[in-house]
Amino acid sequence: MTNLIRAELQKLFTTRLWWAMALVMLALTSLGLVFLITTAGAPAPNGQPALPALDDPAWLPLALSNANGNIFTMILGIVLMTGEYRYQTITGTFLTTPKRGRVIAAKLGAGVIIGAFFAVVSLLFTAVVAVTAVLIGGGAVDLTANRIPQLAVGVLATMILYALFGIGLGALVRNQVAALIGGIVWAFVIESVLSSFPALQTVGKWLPGGAAQALMSIDFDTGLGESNLLPAWGGALVLIGYALLFAVVANLTTTRRDIT
């Protein structure tokens, strides 16, 4: 299985997609950081400070949660699976590993590593920029306070689980464009609606996005009422559940089909 996981990683790292994805992720993270830095401490229209100031201990956790690039690991997961069908390399893959369940398992294993790799890159980049900003802004930095370790672990776990989620989705849908559009619309539109409004969170908390929020324990007061999320471990279980469900369903359907 180690060999198969290594082969899956080679598949990703021998094409150019991964660094394009890494660059876009870092660019978007930078945009978010610029926004967080420039608006830090600025008063909101109603006179209340909308965001904590740079020297406020609450600012750093906020900046760190901006490191979450789960959309990118989800896309990589989708492509890792659907790319095989798009370029018909699935034929060679199944010739090399005819026990098809092992291919899916290896992709999930590679997804864990890819998700972790992107999470670490994003977290390190964010940490360097954010800590510098805090120090320049005259604040003190304590990386063990204010739930910062928990946030970092949350980002890591969410990005890993979204990679698995993407792989499962890709195995199920197979058509790359459909899977990408479906995944992105789901994550950005449907889920953000269902998991932002506390009234809808009874449903939303059971979806991957709500589960991810729970995992990171992002519980900001959005002014829309008290949020209704699962505990962090519950969020993790829900995400793992989705990945496994998709993988199992994929194993029962897609991977049994004839490759012609």
């Binding site: 060999n3 198969l4 290594r6 082969a7 080679q10 598949k11 021998t14 094409t15 150019r16 997609l17 790319g83 370029y87 018909q88 390399t89 034929t91 060679g92 893959t93 199944f94 010739l95 090399t96 590993t97 005819p98 026990k99 049994r256 004839d258 490759i259 012609t260």
Partner: protein, 297 residues
């Protein structure tokens, strides 16, 4: 043990019976040509053999086992499939490295295989820029990675230039006759394999039409003799028990009598023959005849 064994294999796609109760075997040390016109069911048979397509009934075995049950498939079977696809952004060498990693083969194999198929110079080029012939060679390199003793090749000559085809012929003969491998190679262009194969299996519309050694199939062209005469010779031939077909005005195709018997009959009947010759039955005409493509041509 029989290297490749196909036993009563059937597979339908919807209403199309792509392969219909086909059985044949391929022994070690021989090259078998799997021939048939487009849509005959060749690819479907080979894909069933490789576990990519699940047959409706029957069995397709390599070394007595189902391909999907093999623990080290690349070490037992090398396959080149029609329209083998590669990721265009990946280099030839990386493509082989991924297979090598997944199959747990020595890291030296990609370069050795590329060398063997004459692609060493293009090893670090992206496959997207490869010609069809280069892709075929790369696919063949993939089949060689695990140094298997069984080769299953679907139209491997597609896209090769005459020199490439010549090279492929020699290479397949070498694999079978020098290394003792069993080679099953499909084609719809007979000329490609005619000089390579020891045995022939012919399939048309999903059904096996004929199998045997090349010598058996081309042997005496089914015993037909071509006769040219301006006289009305057919009734006499028929009376002598021959089967006669007027191929074109003045040209008869005669079965059931050999050239000497026909000559004697002509002498008796005072018929002037301008040509009497055993039909030179190359595989092409046998093939066209057997697959029904020759009718009307």
């Amino acid at each position: 043990m029989t290297a490749i064994e196909i036993r009563n294999l059937s597979k339908s796609f919807g209403a199309v019976r792509a392969v219909d109760d086909v059985s044949f075997t391929v022994e070690a040390g021989t090259v078998t040509g799997y021939l048939g016109p487009n849509g005959a069911g060749k690819t479907t048979t080979l894909r069933s053999l490789l576990g990519l397509v699940t047959p409706d009934s029957g069995e397709a075995l390599v070394n007595g086992r189902r391909y999907a049950g093999l623990d080290h498939p690349l070490n037992e079977v090398g396959a080149v499939l029609e329209a083998t696809s590669f990721h265009p952004g990946r280099t030839a060498r990386d493509h082989l490295r991924i297979m090598t990693t997944a199959a747990g083969l020595p890291a030296s194999r990609p370069d050795e295989a590329l060398e063997q198929v004459g692609l060493a110079d293009a090893a670090r080029k992206r496959v997207g820029g490869f010609s069809l012939g280069m892709r075929q060679r790369l696919a063949l390199a993939g089949a060689l990675l695990g140094q298997p003793k069984i080769f299953i090749l679907d139209e491997p000559a597609n896209g090769l230039d005459p020199a490439g085809i010549q090279w492929l012929r020699g290479f397949l003969r070498h694999l079978a006759h020098d290394t003792g491998a069993a080679v099953l190679v499909s084609s719809h262009v007979l000329a490609e394999v005619e000089q390579t194969v020891d045995n022939v299996v012919i399939i048309a519309k999903g059904r096996l039409v004929r199998q045997g050694s090349l010598a058996e199939l081309t042997g005496n062209g089914g015993g037909a003799v071509r006769v040219k005469t301006k006289d009305d010779f057919a009734p006499a031939l028929r009376a002598a028990g021959a089967e006669v077909e007027e191929v074109e005005p003045g040209v008869l195709k005669v079965r059931g009598l050999d050239a000497e018997e026909i000559g004697r009959l002509a002498l008796d009947q005072r018929v002037l023959l301008t040509e009497v010759a055993h039909e030179r039955s190359d595989l092409q005409s046998v093939f066209l005849e057997l697959t029904g493509e020759g009718a009307g041509a």
